[in-house]
Amino acid sequence: MKLLDIENLTARYNASDVLKGISFSVEEGEIVALLGANGAGKSTTLRAISGLVPHVSGGLRLGDTSLLGLHTEAIVRLGVSHVPEGRRVFPGLTVEENIILGASNRKGLQKAVLMREVDEKFELFPDLVRLRHTLGWKLSGGQLQMVAVARGLMAKPRLLLLDEPSLGLAPIVVQQVFDIVTEIRRQGTTVLLVEQNANIALSIADRGYVLETGKLLVQGTPAELWGNSQIREAYLGGASAA
């Protein structure tokens, strides 16, 4: 079943379109990767889904509900959790407070249930346990990414949007983060992943889409994308990729 269905979506901030009519879908339980160079419109796609782009047209549906014209807060309540580029962990709040606020979209959540789920997130990210009461601005890039993902999961999302989770992280930390994304999917959350690091993204994704200047260039399974030599050279990090 299609969880996210995007049809001929255009989006612009000011005068010119950043997305020029893209169509794709994400099935329930999948990990789908959006790939492409800087400025291709990958982040804008995620921002359009979350209602952060002022001018959007076309079809944008989560299950049976159209997201077009809804406020960001309403979209989050429908179960779309967006971990944006740059992690955006609140610098003046502690790790625990950041994670707790991740559940702000869930009304009437009992304190005991909330705290149990927070503890579960610390089990998922054991490196964060000793940082529980550390302020956000004191964390390293990898730690921020883990807090951001943990916070995003607190929304109990049907669809998790991850924007460049590997950016600026050491390779070993990247691997850790992607192991957790795999684990998140195993637990039943659908993931739409934006990445420049096609290598790592396609290692866990079921399908990938390659964007170029606001248009969809090609789609396929990781094997199909790697098999397309033109695409591989231009967008997927060249021949060095496995």
Binding site: L52, E73, V76, R88, P91, G92, L93, L101, S104
Partner: protein, 291 residues
């Protein structure tokens, strides 16, 4: 020694008023990134509403005060709707200009309705006060100090110990991210405006019986409160409180030991000194600017 303590007591009292207005400033700086030039007029309007409640409608003092603060909280939301909301995507400067407009508008409306004659407000307590060790404890100054302490404590508890406080802080630190988590950002900002206006009203209601209630009272309090904000550290909550108290004490001592006519100048001399020597204020930024 008694003289020194007496001045300290009086200075703290007036400083507490500056601190409350300064706190209102800081909250709006944090929540909406604006300097509200009409902040002092929240105090002025609060004082006039109390005059109205007591002298015109003859309400009991506690009822008039509660009503004043409630009305001012509602007024804070209306104020946000008029000055902040239409211009919120245009950056900070247009909003700041529109608060200057609001200041002129509000002061002239009150001038039109009440005229230029200052109004008199009675103190909260009938008794003028009592003497301890040669220091006269004026009941109104005691009320100011007690109320301000209570409010600061209450605000600390709400901001640091409740989920609502954390949501307000999150909204202040990154509005887009807050909305991505489902935090109702608009509600948080309006709540801050309401609270900021209520704080101003409390300051006006408390200081009204000491000064005369006049159209211009807000402007001079706001200038001092803004100075307190700079001394304490621009946008810092503890800075607003400490800066306000410091300023009140400094100008009281300055007036007593150096010169009464230059009383108001001391505040600004201190600000100049701070801007020259320690421009980040006593409490520098807690958080570095986001990259």
């Amino acid at each position: 020694m008694a003289m020194f303590l007496q001045l300290l007591f009086t200075g703290m009292g007036i400083g507490a008023v500056y601190a409350l207005v300064s706190l209102g400033f800081v909250l709006l700086i944090c929540a909406a990134n604006i300097v509200n030039f009409a902040q002092g007029d929240f105090a002025m309007l609060g004082a006039y509403l109390l005059v109205l409640g007591l002298n015109v409608f003859s309400l009991p003092y506690p009822v008039a005060i509660v009503l004043t603060i409630l009305l001012m909280a509602i007024f804070g939301v209306l104020f946000a709707g008029a000055t902040y909301w239409p211009l919120r995507f245009r950056g900070a400067l247009p909003v700041i200009i529109s608060t200057i407009g609001a200041q002129i508008f509000l002061e002239n409306i009150v001038l039109y309705l009440y005229g230029p004659v200052p109004q008199v407000l009675p103190g909260v307590f009938n008794s003028p006060g009592f003497t301890v060790g040669g220091v006269f404890m004026d009941s109104q100054y005691l009320t100011i100090l007690a109320t301000a302490s209570l409010l600061v404590l209450l605000q600390y508890l709400v901001f640091e110990k409740t989920l609502l406080g954390k949501k307000i802080q999150a909204t202040n630190q990154d509005k887009e991210m807050a909305s991505l988590l489902g935090i109702p950002v608009v509600f948080m900002i309006l709540l801050t405006f309401a609270y900021s206006a209520a704080l101003g009203a409390v300051a006006g209601v408390l200081v009204g019986p000491i000064l005369f209630v006049s159209v211009g009272m807000g402007g001079s309090i706001a200038l001092k409160a803004f100075a307190a904000n700079i001394i304490g550290g621009y946008g810092s909550i503890p800075g607003a409180i400490v800066g306000g108290l410091l300023l009140g004490v400094a100008e009281t001592f300055g007036a007593a030991y150096i010169s009464v006519p230059y009383k108001d100048a001391f505040a600004f001399l201190i600000v100049l000194a701070f801007l020259a020597v320690r421009p980040q204020g006593l409490f520098g930024e807690k958080v570095a600017e986001k990259a």
